[in-house]
Symmetry: C2
Subunit: 246 residues, 2 copies
């Protein structure tokens, strides 16, 4: 996972860094900043980079993709990291570490990341693209957490909530760093943000389990686990639904 | 906030339900189901509804918008609900209640909601549209939580994380209901899901503040074991005495 700073080839590329791809990204951003995103065509980009249209589309399916040249690679890195056979004591810690890979990708190229942040805020289509990428990161984290748990309904709920919390904390730190024009300490910001999630949901936290009553093997016994601070109506509701279940 | 079931006019409309708008939605979905979304044009929709193109665009900026005719209204309802001068003891409870407005919108029209769910899964453009709507709900909740807190960095982090957790829990319940073809009890599903978030972050929870050390969980959890056939008063008594214990 320790990729060298500045590497930006797609996940399926060889380990040789393709200079043409970098040249296309550089030309695209030069034009986006000079003329605006909407006003720049793929033809403009390839003309400035001195390559043909086919070269562009070999690397990027669309003009939007050249704005986010590293996400596919980072998603692949994240998936590989989560698939690793590791002795994971705390899955929440693991998904926090997976999120750090995304932060690192941004922090490796502060100037580029800040330029893109400003561009994305101005162009609704790019914002939508970014949301769909964020959603894929979140799904990767949630899928991992689901695999690490049993198939109970309550566990899919917990997986979804924890994954969303991790992504929200990561993005809070990332935005704070981008707004500082990349001058703040990105690692410190994300450590603090993910530390909060870790404290709330991690294995050493006091997080309550989702309110699905755990059942013992015997049919006639119901076990309800509840936080001491829970309101009584909530506990009664929980028990009533547990009793009502077949 | 108690809107009558089936009302689907935009936020800025009068309280009279516009039949033409409903007719356009009905015609659009009939065609989407028969021919597919991509294969249906706005011209096809207005021809079936027996109205002109201008009528379509009076209600919907684009073909995508006719797929989600209620979200603008629901976003406006949510914002109004959060802006209400209410004696709010627990802002987390308040954002959970705000999320329930979205669930109610879906639950009011099960057939329509299930059809749209299937359609959205098949069309990437609609999925992206939906993500941008979800993001707007999440921002509305986070903005409310930020307003309710001081301006400290840790509070913006907490607001973002709680808003994301509420949205994730809501969507977990919503998807579970949609996958049941709208046959499950939507309210019960969302109560269970939001109850988890409430227990984790609400004012009666033991959730740690950001960047504070996590508390130990030992004294915060009560386990009650009861026979399924036990009378409810007996169970409640048992829990009350367990909660009272130090």
């Amino acid at each position: 996972m320790n990729e060298a700073p500045g590497r930006r080839e797609p996940a399926d590329a060889t380990t040789v860094r393709p200079p043409m791809r970098d040249a296309l990204v550089g030309a695209a951003f030069q034009l986006f900043l000079e003329r605006g995103y909407e006003e720049t065509t793929v033809d403009d980009i390839v003309a400035l980079a001195g390559v043909g249209r086919r070269s562009f589309f070999r690397y990027f399916p669309s003009k939007e993709d050249v704005v986010f040249p590293d996400h596919e690679r980072c998603l692949a890195d994240m998936t590989a990291f989560l698939d690793e056979e590791a002795d994971v004591q705390d899955p929440v810690q693991r998904v926090c570490d997976a999120a750090r890979l995304v932060l690192r990708m941004y922090a490796e190229n502060p100037t580029f990341s800040v330029q893109r942040y400003r561009l994305t805020k101005k162009v609704p289509g790019l914002r939508a693209y970014e949301l769909s990428v964020v959603w894929r990161y979140e799904r990767a984290l949630a899928e991992y957490l689901r695999r690490r748990s049993t198939e109970a309904r309550a566990d899919t709920l917990r997986a979804d909530v924890v994954a969303a919390a991790v992504v929200a904390a990561h993005n809070n730190a990332l935005r704070s760093w981008l707004r500082s024009d990349g001058t703040k300490d990105a690692e410190a910001a994300v450590d603090q943000a993910l530390g909060y999630v870790q404290n709330t949901f991690g294995s050493t936290s006091s997080a309550p389990a989702p309110a699905e009553p755990a059942r013992t093997g015997a049919e006639d016994v119901v076990v309800v686990v509840s936080r001491r601070g829970a309101p009584m109506w909530r506990v009664v509701q929980e028990i009533e639904s547990a009793f009502a279940r077949d």
